[in-house]
Structures are given as C-alpha cells and as structure tokens.
Chain length 223, copies 4
DNA sequence: CATGAATGAGCTTTCATTCAT
DNA sequence: CATGAATGAAAGCTCATTCAT
C-alpha cells in the first residue's frame, strides 16, 4: 500500500549492481510517468501506458510507488526538483541588478518553453485542486529558493538606486510566472484564438521582449 | 449516428411542448457536461457522471452530441459563448480611457475568478493540444471581439494623450489574461507554494490592484 | 408488433401518390436490408445501418416490417423471389436435353456469382438453423419450380435415349447447387487455402466447364 | 495489450502448476469460443457469452487473445488444425485406389456432418470476406496436405490403369468438399425447401452413396 | 527482484425498440 | 404517413489493482 521511497544506501561506498538496476528501473518508470501524465493527464495516463513506455511491467509500478497516486506524487516532486536544480545552476551578474532580472525572466520563460511537462503536470495537479502537493513537504522549500533569487535581485537594485522599493518580490515572481506560463500553457487555444502561431520562434522572442520590458518598467524607478 | 445541432425552428411562432422539452434536455446535459468536465477533465469526466448529473441517460448524450468528443466541443464553444456574452454586456466609460481599462481588467479578473470552469476546460483543451478548438469556426470570431474592446480603449487613450502609442492591443490582452488566468488556474499549487491562500478575498483584491497598476504603468505615458 | 404487409389496393385503377411513395419507402428499405444483411449478417446488420443505407429512419422499419426479424424474413423471401423470377425467364432449348442441362447449370452458376447476397443471406439463415424459413409458406413453392425444370429436362433426355433413367432430379439439383454454391460461398477461404483467386474470370470459367462436364457425365448414358 | 501466444516453455521438464492452469484457462476459452462463434457467428457471439461458457472472465479473453478478432483468428486456426489432425490419422488402403477414394469421401462427408462448427465458423469467415485467414500463415500449409492425399490416390489409380489421367486433384478436392459442405451448411433451408429432413441418417446415407458414385464416375475410366 | 495470471468495476458506445405527436 | 425524443440493456474493451510464485 505504501510506496517505498528510494532510501539512502547504508553502504554508500559500494552500491550493489542489483540496487543500481533497481534504481534504474525506478527512474525509467518515473521518467515514463512524467511523459505520459504530461501528455494525457492523470486519469488519461494509464498505468498500462506508463509501464509500456518504460518497457517495464505494471507490477513494478506498484512495487516502487505503491499505487497510481503515489506515482503521480513522485512525478510532481520530480518536476519541481528538476526546476529547482536548473534554477540553482543559474549564475547571475551580481554587479548589475537589471541584467540579473533579465536573466531571471529569460530563464523562466525558456524553462517553461522547453519543459512542457512542467506545465501540463502542474495543470493536472491544479485540476485535482492540489490534493497531492498540499501533502508534500518539499514544495515550500522550493518556493523559498525561487522567490529568494528575485528578492535578492530586487534588494540589490534598490540599493543601487535603480529599483522601486515598494515592490514585493512575490508579486514580481507571480508576474513573471504568469506571463511565461499562460503563454505556454494556453498556446494551442491562443493560437486558434489569435490566428498566430505562438510556437514560432519569432513570436516567442517578441513576447519575451515584451515581458522583459514590462517587468522592468514595473520595478524600475522612473528615469 | 450524427449529432443533432440545436437548429432554429422552422415554425418559430409556436414551438411545441416536446421541442421545448428536447431543448431543455440538451441544455441540461450541456450544463452538466461543463460542470463535470470542469471538475474531472476530459478523460476523468465520464459520460456516466455527466448523464447522471443531468438526470438524463447516457444514450441521450449520443443522441444530441454524437459522442464524447462532440459533447466536449459543445462544452468548449459554450464557455466561449458565455464569456463573450458577458463581455458584450460590459458598459465602458467612453469618456475616460483609464477608467475603461480598469473596468476591462476588473471584468476579466472577476470573470476568471467566478467561472473556474472556463479555466479548467480551456486547460483540458490545451492538454489535448487544441485538437477541438482548431476545428471550430467560432473561436476566431470571439477573439476579435475580446481584443477589439481593448484596442478601442487604447486608441481612445492615445487620442487623449494619456497612453503610449507603440503598445499593441494583442500584447495588453495577453498580459491581462496571463495575470488573471495563471493566478486562478494555478491557485492550488501556488497556495501550497507560497504558503498563502490565493482564494482569500483580501489576497485576491491585492492582486487585482497590483495587476491594474502594472497594466496601467505599462500603457500610460510617464507623467 | 405485427408487420403490415403491402396489401392489395382497394382501388386498383388509380393508386394514390401517397401509396406509391409508401411502397417506394418500403422497397428502398428492403433493398437496403438485403445489402446490409448480406454484408454483415443478421446480428451484424443493425437497424441503424439499414435505415441509414435506405436514407430513411429506424422508425419506418418498425412501421413496415414490425421488427428486425420481420425485416429479415422479408429479405429472405425477396431473394428467393428474385431467384425464382430470374429462373422463370430462362428459355430452354426443348429440342435438345443436353443443351438444356448446360443452360440450367450455367444459369445457376452465374446467378450465384452475380448475386452474392443470395448466398450470404442463405448462410445467415442457416446459421440460425432455418428458424425463419421454416415458417415461410412460400419456400416450398419455389423449390417445386426449381427442381421441376431439372426434372423435365431429365425426362426429355431419357425419352430421347440420352440420359440414364435411374437418376433422381433432386440429386442433380443438389449436385449443381453444391458445386456452384460452395465455390462462391467459400471463395475467400478457398482463395487463401488454394493460393488461387477464385474470383478471376478465367478460374471461374474453368470451374464452370468442370461442373458442366461432371454433371453431364453423371446423367448421360455411356456412349 | 498484446495477446500472449501459448509459447513453448523454456523449462520443458518441470512445468509449474500455475502455468498448466493458465494453459487450461486459455484452452477452455478457446473451446468455448469455437462453440459460441459456431452457434451465433462472429458478431452474435459475444465476449460475454464466451467467457460465461468458459466459466472465466471477459478480461481473460483480452489477456490471452488481445481482442475479439484475435480470439476469432485463434478459433479459426484451431478448427483447421483439428481437421488436419483428423485427416492425418486417416489410414488409406494403398493397394486399392478406388477404396482409398471411397475412404477419403467418407472421411470428408462424415467430418462435416460431425463438426458443424467447422462449417459455421468458415461461413462466418467468408462473410467477413476472409479478412482473418488471408493473414494466417498456417492456412496454406493445411491445404497442401488435404489436396496431397487426393493427389496421391489419383496418381496411384492412374498407375493402376483405373483412373483417368486428365483429372486435376484440386477439382476433385473442390468437388468432394462442395458436395459434402453444401449439404451440411444449408441443411436447414434445404430441409424447408425440399420438404425432406437432411439430418436423417437414411437421407444422409443416400447422399453419401450418391456422392461416392458420382465422384468415382468422374474419375474412373469407362469400363 | 521480477513476473504471469487473475479480478471486478468501469469505460465509451451501439443495440433494438417504444413513446408522443 | 412520418418523425424527433427517449429508453434500458448489452456490446467490446480498458481500468487500477492483487494474487501466487
């Protein structure tokens, strides 16, 4: 019933081949699950589709993740983890607050564009009214990091006399996320709606520029 | 085999009781479908759940909508129709461009807040990569209206020397929609993420103000 | 419940347009039923497929034929009727018994080839263990005619000192029917089985010749 | 998702009890399928009827045969296999070609009489225009054997100066099959048609004699 | 660590048929 | 004479999950 978590090895020096194989199976299933859930949603992404995509067996999913919900939770945590990992690698120009902010905006918009599974799985979770994420302890930790980066940049910009002081980091985070997320999440209906292909590089680049200008206009002091 | 569309009656003066009842059945099913699809998504929203919610029978769904996809398309077009209908009722203060813009922003944000089915069904459609909307002829017509309102307001503001002229109406439409949509669509994961209840009236009001200020800051000429 | 038969008009001189239209509907449905039952069998040939093929409505089938079984019975009797009608048009060379027999064989083999629905519907009825035909009064009448033609020819051949006298007409009828029917009825499995396309004109012509020779060899006195 | 064929065990010495039980399940289903398809045809023979007849569950049919078509193909191949198996057991009197031919005719006619499922399932397949058999690799192999027996007998009879040399084995095969098959396949409509019960042993025996005499008359040299 | 077998409930869809006008 | 609306049962098939090794 209860999913077995990939526990830390007691003998860290020499992991047995068996254990490594097991981890590989677990990872393969998880990767497949992310792909399938991303494409079909939670109810549309069947255990069968996933085990097949992972070239494994239904039974293994129950072995490693307990049940379908357990697998979905693991998928959800994994996509958050990946986003965080990517963000941690972001090297900002500490000298230049505006450049930093541009980098952050670019990072978020590009991450959303290049990781559609991040968006679709989050949407699935929101369709379920966040019933999994609310139980997860890891979610909050990740948010602190994400907003932290923005906060530091805003503080630096303020100190340099470039940015407005009354701006809340959380609002800027939401603003950038909104402008990046909605564009990707709804690109299919928007494409039909606007009669313009939002997946074209040119259209995306224009949007990126608009977002960057708008965010900076929001946080910068008037010249 | 073929879904019957609710066609205009040939004898408009005297609609028979049966015909009225039939329309009612169709409407009841459609309303139930919107609710169920909204709550469970396309694959999660079973025909059975819908017919039960409509106090009708599975068979009638096929009678009126052909198949599940046909019903989903009808639901999709209906939520667009409703949004458009609501927007058409919006009475703007033509004298005051800034007030107009505030009204538009408020309308959109409130509409998203009060019609979660609009958001979840659009998300479902985007999960399916827009496979239904791309076939719909009505989508484009609706968009023209939605952006048209913004365009007129921008033009008026420009003429009055209040707004910047280089702003594209489509960008402002996307901006407002993004800021309103993402907040609602992702409110569950965001609530867990931020540790702040985005459904609280106070938090919503603050966001509304932020969005309004930000959009106006974007379009207004510097004082 | 009970199918309404196409009753004889009370005013035979002047059939009303309405009545003619009704007959047309009935005939169209019957023709469509024969096609559909022929292609899909009784259980595979749905009321819906038939009414659609007839460009009519399900309800009309019940109006004219009572229920699905009634329609099948009508189809069955119609294909027998058509066969009989065609046979009645057969003009035999009364002077020459052997030529007559050749004509009969050719007629049967060609009729089976050109009317696959005759074969498939009979097969459907036999799958149902003849449950419809056993109730039909018309079947026996038809058989008398069919065998009668063969009997007359055999008798003439006998009188002319050409044919053996101990031959039973019923056996010859069964023989010709067997050799013609099996070839057509099982042509798909035989084609796979023999690796030879039984639908090719050349292969059919060879079979026709073989059948003719064999039947004549059976009934003719040794020279 | 994919039908599992009953593969040869990797450890042939010691088959587990579970594996044996599984094979039994598969076999029971297959046997039930043959009975049900035989009685109701392909579309009339429902999965439910079959699983019930096999005292198993719907689900197991999909587990072992993939889908209904897969089950039908298995049934089709099985009845061919059985016929072939029975024919292989046929011990012919090699010294006497005429006796051999009588044995072959008797075997075929009796097999058709005693295995009505062979006939009805073949008819079902022909209704479907041979869509399954054409994909089967085994069909051709069986035919070679069936005709081979006749060919050998004809060759021997020729060598003994008893049979005509210009006779093609394939025609004789078709002739015997036709005369045996049609009689059984259409016995219900023929019974109504002829007013004679073709299932009575006496009538069958007479037909068997007629067929034997006719075939021999066809292949034998005139005395 | 892995797997083949089994299960029962649920899925979307089609069936033949009847009702009310 | 014809038709749109309605119905309940059953169809083929997939679902998440557990059992026995």
């Amino acid at each position: 019933m209860i999913a077995k978590k990939q526990t830390a090895s007691k003998t860290p020096v020499k992991t047995s081949a068996r254990k490594r194989a097991a981890l590989a199976t677990r990872e393969t299933i998880l990767r497949a699950a992310i792909k399938v859930f991303s494409k079909y949603g939670l109810s549309g992404g069947s255990i069968d589709k996933i085990s097949h995509a992972a070239r494994s067996h239904d039974r293994m999913i129950y072995y490693y993740f307990g049940n379908k919900d357990g697998l979905f939770v693991a998928a959800l945590e994994e996509i958050y983890r990946r986003f965080n990992e990517a963000e941690a690698k972001l090297v900002l120009d500490v000298e230049n607050a505006e450049a930093s902010m541009r980098q952050i905006i670019q990072f978020i918009l590009h991450y959303y564009r290049d990781h559609p599974e991040f968006i679709t799985i989050l949407n699935s979770e929101n369709l379920l009214r966040g019933q999994h994420i609310s139980k997860s302890r890891t979610a909050r930790e990740y948010s602190t990091a994400a907003i932290g980066v923005i906060e530091q940049t805003l503080v630096r910009g303020c100190a340099q006399g470039l940015f407005r002081s009354e701006i809340r980091p959380r609002d800027i985070y939401l603003m950038i996320a909104s402008l990046g997320y909605f564009y990707q999440s709804n690109r299919f209906t928007l494409t039909a709606f606007l009669g313009e292909n939002l997946e074209s590089p040119k259209v995306f680049a224009e949007w990126e520029e608009f977002v960057t200008n708008t965010v900076l206009r929001t946080i910068k002091l008037a010249d």
